[in-house]
């Protein structure tokens, strides 16, 4: 008989080892799935995890994609993780990401074709403001009327998507675009363009911001009283109130911060890799970032690694479906397995497992 014994305190060793084990388990289970689909499992795994970085043919194209994809994921996930730590569930980062992009891009386009070094920083602030504002709606409703922020923030995603469709066909449509939906392309507006900082690396200002956010979140959570209050509220809400935390303020802070970071991510994306405000700009980063936040154990350094890993499976998955004809659904299943195994392996962190001889009754 197998017996689970709760550990007096979570094991640090297992907390560090389980992500590696989870990746290995995903490779094994995923390999079996690919084999059942009639593909060579070793080739498939290699295509997903190895080729995007080291293949001589595609490497040059897909390596920069790693940072391009990981940047927004990490930036959004960092903001979300701080709220999650406090038990405040912002599920609508996708909406804040879209509104941030619209507001930031709108500010930039209002200055077109003025050239100034101040325009891009102003757009970043406007993007953050847009995301913050969108997140303040569920925050205010929760604080004032006790609504559930999960539902409100999620539903606002669909409102944001409708607004995106509207502005890309109306307000922000490129006047020189022959009536096609979509804004001007920021690649043709240097003052507002978020280009590669170092050519061929995929490194743009959004990636820089993501790294700054990782450091900021690390310092906040480990060194600052506010971070302590965030953690305390998540672990023991009553103790937090006793300690002097004002729950309403914490809700405003956590939702505001995650909204601002998501909005910024949207702005960096629309002015860089995406290039323009268009109907299909919303790419699901806001939802995937939730997975990244949990995959990284709501820990800033973990999120950095999880964001890179998630980006890798995306790029590798695309490559695998392109090269090996693996269906997109199988790739999504593979990514789901990763999350499943990671959460399942948590049991080793919190429990000790013992084998016990079956007792004679």
């Amino acid at each position: 008989m197998i017996v689970f014994e709760k550990r007096p305190s979570p094991s640090r060793f297992w907390a560090a080892v389980t992500p590696v084990l989870a990746v290995l388990a995903t490779m094994i289970a995923g390999g079996v799935m690919f084999w059942l689909l009639g593909k060579d499992p070793l080739v498939a795994i290699r295509t997903i995890f190895w080729d995007p970085l080291f293949d001589p043919t595609f490497g040059a194209y897909s390596r920069p994609q790693l940072l391009v994809k990981a940047g927004p994921l990490i930036l959004i996930a960092i903001g979300l993780s701080i709220g999650f730590r406090a038990g405040i569930w912002n599920i609508g980062a996708e909406g804040q990401y879209i509104i941030g992009a619209i507001v930031g891009a709108g500010v930039g386009l209002a200055f077109y074709p003025t050239e100034s070094r101040l325009i891009f920083p102003l757009m970043v602030l406007a993007g953050a403001f847009g995301g913050w504002l969108w997140a303040m709606i569920p925050a205010f409703l929760r604080v004032r009327f006790g609504t559930n922020e999960i539902l409100v923030s999620l539903m606002l995603v669909y409102v944001a998507e409708a607004m995106l469709a509207s502005v890309s066909q109306g307000l922000l449509r490129n006047p020189d675009g022959m009536g096609f939906p979509g804004s001007r392309n920021f690649k043709e507006y240097p003052a507002a363009h978020n280009g590669e900082i170092i050519a061929g690396t995929g490194m743009h200002w959004g990636v820089v911001m993501a790294l700054i956010a990782v450091i900021f979140a690390y310092l906040l959570l480990s060194r600052h009283m506010l971070g302590f209050q965030v953690r305390l509220s998540g672990e023991a809400p009553r103790a937090a109130r006793f300690s002097g935390v004002k729950p309403a303020r914490l809700v405003l802070f956590c939702l505001g911060l995650s909204g601002a970071l998501a909005g910024m991510a949207g702005l960096f994306e629309v002015t860089g890799p995406a290039g323009q405000v268009s109907i299909d700009f919303g790419s699901g980063y806001g939802f995937t970032a939730i997975i990244v936040a949990f995959l990284g154990r709501l820990n800033p350094l973990g999120i950095l690694l999880a964001g890179l890993l998630m980006a890798l499976t995306y790029i590798g998955g695309d490559l695998a479906s392109l090269m090996l004809g693996i269906p997109a659904a199988a790739i999504q299943l593979f990514q789901g397995m990763l999350l499943f195994f990671l959460l399942a392996m948590d049991i080793f962190t919190n429990f000790r497992i013992r084998l016990k001889k079956p007792e004679a009754a």
Partner: protein, 510 residues
């Protein structure tokens, strides 16, 4: 046992029961026997192994070694259901009741094969009338007092017609009058041949009720006696294994007014809470005020109003003359009003955080543990270590999670955290609940020393012996009202009972 009575066959016999957990032997070679109709006390400090022992009898834990017999036949229950089938019933210290359901529904949920609702209700009425435990099957448990809730648990057991009834610290939430009713019920049950295993650390009760006592210390049976022949002090010394340290202090002459409540009324924070009604009170420096009362009569609400977790109407709370009713917890701490709530895990301390982090939880302001919002972890760790050392908290170090400490040790930490911050006024709720005798004595001494240094101390507790021991004045909460405080010295049990006022439907229908 040195009994010379004719050897009556034992109902339950324990022989050499041993149970070890990693790092600790909870029970070591425990043997004793209980005869039908006997009220048998199991006495010991917290951590002496009482709970493990009764869990083995009730089928929750399997012994490593040793055997049990029931009426001479081998008895090895694999589950509580198996134990119940053999006639063992247990009333737990913490009730397992759903507040939103009524009495009959709660009782049905705890039975293996509940009868039809109508029949169950009539059986509940019959049993509760037969044993003097008035109980209305249709009332919602959320509206019942703690004493009434306990009756629900007892009636649930009695419906199963038990041969052995185990009671774990049954009187910790009762008024003296309710205790008296419980004792009459238990004596009646014993008279009908039901054996009762009575677990407690309240020595006076055991002396009043039980005819045999088995005393456990560190998992072993250290003594057996007839508690009626021993003084409470002798029993305590058998239990602790050392001379008891009784808190001492010079009677204080109260100084200037430290804390004042003027007509404090507040609605309850939750549906099952109690409103505070027109509480007025004046407390001098160096004074210890004991607030008794049955749980759920406004204790938590009063503490929350004083700690600042819930804000009182302006002008109702004054600290050294200054109105603090609308101040947040940390502003009150800065002015010298500190508090320690009853619930250790989750309220006074965060279970999964380290002791260092828990020291920060209330110590940040007065101990200056932060600089411009940034935490000085070295200073915080130092503060936690000082608490651990000064209050003899048994733990490998301040990096351990609060959850890993035993209840008594965590309580010492929680009280120590506030006492070391040198408060002007300290409010504590149930400072020694579930704490062993020597730790309780240490906590009481710390509170008295604090008062000796000129602080005003409010002790909210359900342990009347404790309140009588340390209070200068005594008062009680009843349905959110506070009785007029009176000097504690010389109060009779009857007067205390009247102040606690829980006189609703308590008369035994004899």
């Amino acid at each position: 046992m040195s009994e010379t009575r004719a050897p009556e066959p034992a109902l339950l016999g324990l022989e050499g029961l041993t149970k070890a957990y990693p790092g600790v032997v909870a029970n070591d070679d425990v043997s004793f026997a209980i005869r039908p109709g006997e009220i048998h006390a199991l006495l010991g400090e917290n951590g002496a192994g009482k709970s493990t022992l009764v869990k083995m009898i009730y089928g929750l834990v399997k012994p490593d070694r040793g055997r049990m017999t029931m009426r001479g036949a081998p008895f090895a229950p694999a589950s509580p259901a198996a134990a119940r089938a053999e006639g063992v019933a247990m009333v737990f210290q913490h009730f397992s009741l759903f507040e939103a359901l009524n009495v009959a529904e709660n009782i049905a949920l705890g039975m293996d094969r509940p009868p039809a609702p109508r029949e169950l209700a009539s059986r509940i009425r019959a049993v509760s009338a037969a044993y003097g435990l008035p109980l209305d099957p249709a009332r919602r448990v959320g509206d019942l007092s703690a004493g009434e809730r306990q009756r629900v648990e007892i009636v649930r057991c009695l419906l199963q017609d038990p041969k052995l009834l185990i009671m774990d610290e049954p009187t910790s939430v009762l008024t003296p009058q309710e205790v008296e009713i419980l004792f009459r019920t238990l004596r009646k049950l014993a008279g009908e041949g039901t054996a009762i295993l009575y677990i407690s650390h309240k020595l006076e009760e055991i002396r009043a009720l039980c005819e045999h006592a088995t005393i456990l210390r560190l998992g072993r049976v250290v003594d057996t006696c007839d508690p009626r022949q021993k003084s409470a002090r002798e029993l305590a010394e058998m239990m602790v294994g050392e001379e008891l340290h009784v808190p001492s202090r010079a009677p204080a002459t109260p100084g200037a007014v430290a804390l004042e409540l003027c007509g404090l009324s507040m609605p309850p924070a939750s549906e099952f809470g109690t409103p505070l009604r027109d509480i007025s009170l004046s407390l001098g420096k160096g004074e210890v005020l004991g607030i008794g009362g049955v749980a759920g009569n406004g204790q938590d609400e009063l503490l929350a109003a004083l700690s600042g977790e819930s804000l009182a109407p302006a002008g109702t709370i004054r600290l050294a003359g200054r109105d603090i009713s609308r101040l947040a917890p940390n502003q009150r701490r800065a002015l010298g009003l500190l508090a320690a709530p009853e619930e250790r895990l989750g309220h006074a301390a965060a279970p999964d955080m380290s002791l260092t982090e828990n020291a920060l939880l209330t110590g940040a302001v007065r101990e200056r543990l932060t600089r411009r919002g940034f935490i000085d972890w070295a200073r915080t760790r130092d503060f936690a270590s000082r608490i651990i050392e000064a209050f003899d908290v048994r733990t490998p170090g301040p990096e351990n999670a609060a959850r890993s400490l035993s209840g008594g040790n965590l309580q010492k930490f929680v009280i120590g955290r506030e006492v070391l911050q040198a408060p002007e006024v300290l409010v504590v709720n149930q400072p020694t609940w579930g704490v062993d005798a020597s730790a309780a004595a240490a906590i009481r001494q710390a509170l008295l020393d604090l008062a000796g240094r000129g602080a005003a101390v409010v002790v909210i507790s359900q342990d009347l012996d404790e309140l009588m021991e340390i209070s200068d004045r005594f008062t009680a909460l009843n349905e959110g009202r506070l009785a007029e405080p009176r000097p504690a010295r010389g109060l009779s049990v009857e007067e205390i009972g009247l102040m606690m006022g829980g006189a609703h439907d308590l008369e035994v229908s004899a």
